[in-house]
Symmetry: C2
Subunit: 556 residues, 2 copies
């Protein structure tokens, strides 16, 4: 087919999980395909599985090994799970990065922060502007989402058109940015769509999605009827929501103050790039201090309970001169991402103790999702009538459900999780190959492999505590002095009420005294024996089996 | 009033949080009150704040110090957050424990497990049976909840009647146990209720609760329409739900097999104590192996994704001879408790990869809550017409909301979180005193204070990694040999690509060589200096500031 050339699709991240999106398309002879990369995102660590880690990124080794085949990187929108890895990997990929203007501003900074060349960011206008990258013709098709200038990609290949939706929803009145234009989509599908690579995040939600603009009246009413200070939080990048909130404040005769670095930055980037117009006037936090609280509205960062964001700081007391008080209102114009429940509830309860009225999204009146729900996804299937549908963005259960929905319509589909390379040349998707993929962690300044054991060691210390045991042997390999023990993360005393480390030292001393040359001359045997002694004492005394590090110093 | 005697209420756990319930009531002269304790529960640790901890319990010091004033312990029902601490503290309290029969079976075991005397469990029939404990007359009023024989307590005091609801819902057809009997409640309120101490768990849920019996038809339909094996999970202690599930299996012509120790145990205790009758016949897992999958239904433990429970084991492969396959159905007849989302979703996705159809509670068709929602709570307020309402069971925001609901009805109310002692003698609740309370951790076999720093040390190691640095000084206080470093939970190499521990050893060696006697003779100065050196190397090399333990061995 096509002279032995093929069209391939390979997710390196984001398929079989939510987050760290990275999708490769390629066209050419097998193994010699010219490639493009769509999105290069991160995902966030948690204490359960990745304590101390700063960021989680896809393992890009496969693509880095083939950097000479890569033509371009395309970024659909500026959320961290689509753009966050750009600066970290660009120096190993070294190709132009295409995106629209607002995303470009954010991408520019991502590159700068990590010492990559920000001049490699190329700003592209929306469709019909088209760029060429090897065998591909590429254009950005505006979609609605919870950040400005989100785009689907139209990827024209020698064997047909691919539409890669990116994150999207159908919104006829998105407050900021272009409304959904079914006629344009219909035109784009005109000559036939070979592959629809489609967002699956909300496939399990059965009802149609709601427009961003439905929130305005609810939020306006809430703010108008509140008596004390009103504080609202949402994702800073949801510029449309920030605008709705600010307008509600202004309409209620309140001065509006933005707090939190991300909030100030996103609004200013959105104004600079022209995506945000008519934003109500805002005041600084210094000015806000002089405004009576019933005339004030704060719009703050920290909708997910992030410890250092404005909402968390306010829940602990004063922040930049502001302090909440009884009768004030705090609005979460956001949903809580699974895993962040405890942090968010911690803030809610702190506010409750202050007598602040907290309004969350239980009523669905103050937040809408940025993703297309099942009926909306089906509407897009019907509009695009693709030959094949490849579900992306989502956990396995979501991809599988999306495949089922497509197949019920007679569209050929397949679940391809990270590392599953599909051959899309023919009429149905076919698994071409399984590629080794995984995750790498940014840990401090270093990238470490998820399987390196570094994080596993940390988790073990967190669960079991850590005992350190030092012994010294003299030039004749005889014990010199007594063993020395220290512990961290363990009770100081146990069953016998004696000091745990002293008990370990004493048992270790007896072990050393009993040990013959076969043991004393062999570091491995000594280590194993001392480790066993330390664990035994801990099990008997406190019922725990700690991690034990034995340091054997031999005076040479 | 009453000759200087007073009626007090003191939550030691469960007020201002969900879990580890423990409520003290007392009557007598201030400081000499005769006391009773209602419930003695635990709460569960998490990796975020309590890694490695086995159980979290209320700090019972206040009551232990006054054990001679204590008359009795009453347990409202057998959930861990009401009964789990009984065995751990009984030996320090040493008074009779009153409960109903089913709860008594569970309490018996809790006592045995911790070396307390199980003969101290006294079984009490439901109201009108009454026991005397000091100045109190006590009876158990049957309520519906998600475990058999839950009870409210009627606490008659010299100054009036208290009704302490325990966990409850209003259910006219609870499948197992007594239906809600509004006339009985009305009679109990007859002579006037002084205080209603009331469950607040679901106060923020605006719609009336649904009966346990509404689930039967939905579950029956689902099981009847499933083609492969059906596996369902719920809390093992929700015996009514287990019965509904088993009946659905039987009605669909399937053999029913219970899997997981807790599941087998709860059903057998319920049968033994007579609360569960007409349970469909069950087969063992050995027998189940010979039954065609379309004729089989498993009811398993692990609705919260617990690693070692049956549902998690099945998601990883074979468990007791059983293995799920494409076309099977897995039903979560349960809700996911906040904090368990990741574990549950991990299982859902593992099943999705096997091709198993997972049905969760998104549709609300297969699970109902065991707690009264706001309209139900209001119905109880109206039935009981208490003089005062004390909200319990719940985070601060729930207690506060419950207080507001009561006050809107003209009932005097107050938010009293753990440690807030109320004087309930008069017509309105009054704060009498603030008592020091907190949490203790069962860690291995030891109880440790939440503020002891033990767990903080573990969290630090998990976030930052741990470096151990050993130096030896000879009899003249001169460095002997080179310093020795080990690390755990840190990358092996960093920026310079050299071994991190070797770099630390080398820098530490230079520090020792440069150090003068003022440093070499002073353990604190040596420790601080070496710690700084180790951290500096780590910051430069890998961008992390680890925990550092320095071991200084002096050859005496």
């Amino acid at each position: 087919m096509s002279g032995g050339e093929r069209l391939i699709y390979l997710p390196l991240g984001g398929a079989g999980e939510v987050g760290m999106n990275a999708y490769v398309y390629g066209y050419g002879k097998p193994g010699k395909e010219r490639l493009i990369l769509v999105d290069l995102g991160v995902t966030f660590p948690d204490m359960d599985s990745t304590p101390g880690v700063d960021l989680i990124m896809p393992d890009m080794s496969w693509l880095i090994d083939r950097a000479d085949q890569l033509e371009a990187i395309l970024i659909t929108h500026g959320h961290e799970d689509h753009i966050g890895g750009l600066g970290h990997f660009w120096n190993q990929l070294r190709v132009p990065v295409y995106c629209r203007k607002f995303t470009g501003h954010l991408a520019h900074r991502k590159m700068e922060e990590r010492g990559a060349d920000p001049e490699q960011i190329c700003i592209v206008d929306a469709f019909p502007e088209t760029i060429e990258a090897g065998p591909f013709g590429l254009s950005f098709l505006p979609v609605s989402h919870s950040i400005p200038e989100s785009s689907a990609l139209i990827i024209d290949t020698p064997v047909g058109r691919i539409v890669h939706t990116g994150d999207f929803k159908l919104d006829g009145a998105p407050v900021v940015g272009e409304a959904f234009d079914p006629e344009l989509w219909h035109d784009i599908a005109g000559d036939g769509v070979k592959v629809l690579t489609c967002d699956s995040t909300n496939i399990v939600v059965p009802h149609p999605g709601r427009s961003e603009s439905t929130l305005g009246p609810n939020i306006r009413k809430l703010v108008a009827e509140s008596s004390g200070m009103v504080v609202a939080t949402t994702f800073a990048s949801n510029v449309a929501r920030v605008k709705t909130l600010a307008e509600a404040g202004r309409d209620a005769g309140r001065s509006v103050c933005l707090m939190g670095r991300a909030m100030l930055r996103m609004v200013s980037v959105a104004v600079e790039t022209g995506v945000l117009t008519d934003f109500p006037p805002v005041i600084s936090h210094e000015e806000a201090e002089d405004i009576p609280r019933e005339n004030l509205m704060l719009i703050v960062t920290g909708s997910q309970g992030e410890r250092r964001a404005a909402s968390a700081q306010l829940s602990r007391g004063k922040y930049l001169g502001m302090k909440l008080a009884e009768g004030d209102t705090f609005l979460f114009s956001s949903k809580t991402i699974p895993g962040n429940e405890r942090s968010v509830l911690g803030i809610v309860n702190a506010y409750s103790e202050m007598g602040v009225n907290v309004i969350d999204d239980t009523s669905s009146s103050y937040h809408v999702s940025g993703h297309a729900n099942r009926p909306d996804l089906e509407a897009v299937h019907d509009l695009m009538r693709p030959q094949m549908l490849v579900p992306m963005h989502g956990e396995h259960r979501m991809l599988r459900r999306h495949m089922e929905v497509a197949e019920e319509k007679g569209i050929s589909s397949i679940v391809a999780t990270n590392g599953t390379m599909l051959d899309l040349t023919g009429d149905t998707p076919r698994v071409a190959e399984h590629v080794e993929t995984g995750r790498v962690y940014l840990d401090g300044t270093q990238l470490i492999g998820a399987l390196d054991g570094v994080v596993r060691g940390r988790i073990r210390m967190a669960l079991n505590g850590h005992v350190l045991l030092t012994v010294i042997l003299d030039e004749e390999d005889e014990p010199l002095g007594d063993p020395w023990a220290e512990s961290m993360g363990l009770a100081e005393t146990g069953r016998s009420k004696a000091s745990l480390v002293e008990l370990i030292e004493s048992e270790a001393g007896q072990f050393m005294a009993r040990a013959d040359d076969k043991v004393l001359l062999d570091d491995d045997k000594l280590d194993a024996g001392l480790r066993r002694v330390a664990r035994q004492v801990c099990v008997e005394e406190i019922g725990k089996k700690p991690e034990v590090t034995v340091v054997i110093s031999r005076l040479a």
